[in-house]
């Protein structure tokens, strides 16, 4: 058995801890703070009450006023730590405040009103998550709608992307046909045409088709993706040719070979493309910003951007909705990070 201390000292490379190792760990520690810190701060802040948010300097954790039901009062009363004139400290419930004078009662003996100066009392608070920030915008602003739109766009666009790109990849990997190289080059060429330089014409096309201000205008233009075609084609090229030939001998039609042999076997690559597509679609910003001009069709990202642009930024709601926009990505990150990094390593694309 190794003692815990020896275990601690054990390192990958046995030997002394050099100066460069110390520097490396400092660098990494700063990195963790800088990369994670802001997001942690966002999530913590999103649970703060409006008044807790307005405090400066801010509190680290979301704190909520403790309150108590007191006999004779309809609503709950906030609790305070009060320094009494004689120097003793008590926990009292505030009934009302007039000017700088606070009127308080002892919850155990609510008949007597105690008056103290405002600065003699501090609010009694506890760690409290304020779900109101989440509930309210989803119910009363359009955020419920935005959320639904984002989910719809992400799911449908991913399905369309998987279907048409896998079909193209199937043709370009399993088949030999006249013009194959032409099509391959055409697909590669689209890599060089980012949406930033064809905003106007794609907007024209979408309007000509009559898709303006519909979610399909967000879904369709990005559905065919060179990254998707090549990712899947690369994978399909590794499938044994005899397998396809066996299926041909087994009287399978082309569609059956595609749907029942090639697709099930390409599942790992399809999974990577699914993750990519979900990320692209959930996070997409510039194109939806151009094409969606009615609030009912906003996706979450556009809704967030519009909401922050309003004159009076309601940070408590904005923060909570930002967290909502972050959740699916966080889940993808936690569970599927390995797929993504290997996907990027294999294609050099994201």
């Amino acid at each position: 058995m190794m003692s815990p201390l020896a275990l601690l000292r054990q390192r990958r490379n046995p030997g002394r801890i050099g100066f460069s190792d110390v520097l490396a760990y400092i660098y990494l520690a700063v990195g963790v703070f800088l990369m994670f810190g802001p997001v942690v701060w966002l999530v913590l802040s999103s649970f703060k009450t409006r008044s807790n948010l307005d405090e400066f300097p801010p509190t680290f954790l979301p704190l909520a006023q403790q309150s108590v039901a007191v006999k004779g009062y309809d609503s709950k009363l906030p609790l305070y730590n009060v320094t009494m004139p004689d120097g003793s400290k008590r926990v009292l419930a505030q009934v009302r405040r007039i000017g700088v004078i606070s009127q308080l009662v002892d919850p155990a003996a609510p008949q007597t009103i105690i008056k103290v100066n405002m600065d003699k009392r501090t609010a009694l608070r506890h760690l409290g998550l304020d779900w109101h920030n989440y509930e309210h915008p989803l119910r009363h602003f359009n955020f419920g709608r935005y959320l639904w739109n984002s989910v719809f766009v992400t799911v449908v666009a991913t399905l369309v992307t998987l279907l048409i790109n896998s079909m193209a990849a199937y043709a370009l990997s399993i088949h030999e046909f006249r013009g194959k190289n032409f099509f391959l080059v055409a697909v590669i060429a689209t890599l060089m045409v980012p949406i930033t330089i064809i905003l106007v014409p794609v907007f024209v096309v979408v309007n000509e088709i009559g898709l303006d201000n519909s979610l399909w205008a967000v879904i369709l233009p990005g559905a065919a993706t060179p990254t998707g075609v090549f990712l899947l084609r690369q994978y399909m090229l590794t499938m044994p040719r005899e397998l396809i030939e066996a299926a041909r001998m087994d009287k399978a039609s082309e569609w059956q070979i595609y749907a029942r042999i090639v697709m099930p076997l390409a599942l790992p690559a399809l999974a990577v493309l699914t993750i990519f597509s979900v990320m692209w679609r959930w996070n997409e910003f510039l194109w939806p910003l151009v094409v969606l001009s009615k609030s009912e069709t906003y996706t979450l990202q556009i809704g967030l951007n519009a909401f922050q642009g309003d004159l009076q930024t309601q940070w408590n709601y904005l923060l909570a909705m930002t967290v909502v926009a972050l959740i699916p990505i966080a889940l993808v990150f936690v569970f599927l990070q390995r797929f993504i990094t290997s996907g990027i390593a294999n294609t050099g694309m994201k």
Partner: protein, 331 residues
């Protein structure tokens, strides 16, 4: 059939859906023959590419030679090279305010400035991180993930995360006040806004380039370093004489990628600063967006002309990349 009826049902459902187009596709196959089925499979993809990539390139160029405010091509009068003339109408090319389309030139210069600084910072930070992650450290997977995760965040989320920290009453100002300083209005100051635009975009994307560089580092055979150790080569010299030359191809790829994306920067910066204060952080893509979609009178022709200019710029950068990678393959 006896085990897991639920997954079995799901599999049957999946098969049912997959078989739906089976009959019509089989009919098509019988009519045109198996050897031509490839065209049927590639058709949807090519249709989408044609409609949303290739046709738009043509429309882009056509629109850049038309004027008016109408959206549809039939209602747009041709104006020859007028739009390009407008864009290039400058008394002094180094002074945007002397230009007819001063916002275009401001956007160009801002994009240039942003790109130059951002590229150097991004490459340095990514390289440093990759080098550290390539050392013999514990929990490498965790640290790699830490640097990588902002890559997945949406630009709006990235912008809001930082806007919340940078706002006048935000965490950063609390720290400054706590240390006895005065709060700074970060996003209302031209210099600070540019600083944070670059900072945030490096924060958001460095993980991606770190990953590429780390892959390059890990492809360098270990025994080279062992040989260098045997020769008594100092670590710094190993870095300069071994690691960097061997990593050069990957560095080059990263350099060009960051440049191409830097020129197209829009999302995070727009959501963070809105291009402001004034036009201090307005990039060229924002100019195109605003001209066509966010101004009182949309000027599609001018935006198209600016797009064509940007497209040519990107084409040059892409060809440079191809040339560099080709040369790399040759040596």
């Amino acid at each position: 059939m006896t085990t897991a009826p639920a997954s079995n049902l799901l599999a049957r459902l999946g098969r049912f859906i997959a078989e739906l187009p089976g009959a019509p596709m089989a009919l098509v196959e019988r009519v045109i023959g198996t050897s031509r089925m490839a065209y049927v499979f590639i058709l949807p993809n090519i249709l989408f590419f044609g409609l949303f990539v290739f046709l738009p390139i043509g429309i882009d160029i056509y629109y850049s030679f038309t004027g008016g405010t109408a959206l549809f091509p039939s209602q747009r009068p041709g104006v020859g090279g007028l739009q390009y003339h407008y864009l290039a109408d400058c008394k002094n090319f180094y002074d945007p305010s002397s230009c007819r389309e001063d916002y275009f030139w401001r956007g160009m210069w801002t994009s240039l400035k942003f790109t130059l600084i951002q590229v150097s910072v991004m490459v340095l930070v990514s390289l440093a991180t990759a080098l550290v992650l390539n050392m013999k450290i514990r929990a490498r997977g965790f640290f790699r993930a830490v640097y990588f995760f902002p890559v997945l965040l949406s630009p709006v989320v990235v912008a809001l995360v930082w806007k919340w920290i940078l706002q006048p009453q935000g965490l950063l100002n609390a720290a400054i006040v706590g240390m006895g300083g005065q709060p700074i209005l970060f996003l209302a100051d031209a210099g600070w806004a540019m600083f944070w635009a670059i900072f945030v975009s490096v924060w958001a994307h460095t993980g991606f380039y770190t990953l590429i560089l780390l892959a390059g580092l890990q492809a360098i055979p270990r025994d080279i370093y062992e040989a260098a150790d045997m020769d008594g080569t100092r670590p710094l010299r190993q870095l300069v004489r071994l690691t960097l030359p061997l990593l050069w191809p990957n560095l080059l790829v990263v350099l060009v990628l960051v440049t191409i994306r830097g020129v197209q920067t829009f999302d995070e910066v727009f959501a963070l600063t809105g291009g402001g204060p004034g036009t201090a952080t307005m990039m060229i893509v924002q100019y195109i967006y605003t001209t066509a979609f966010a101004s009182q009178v949309p000027d599609y022709g001018l935006a198209a002309a600016a797009s064509v200019v940007l497209g040519l710029l990107l084409l040059v950068l892409t060809l440079t990349q191809l040339w560099l990678t080709r040369r790399r393959g040759a040596t």
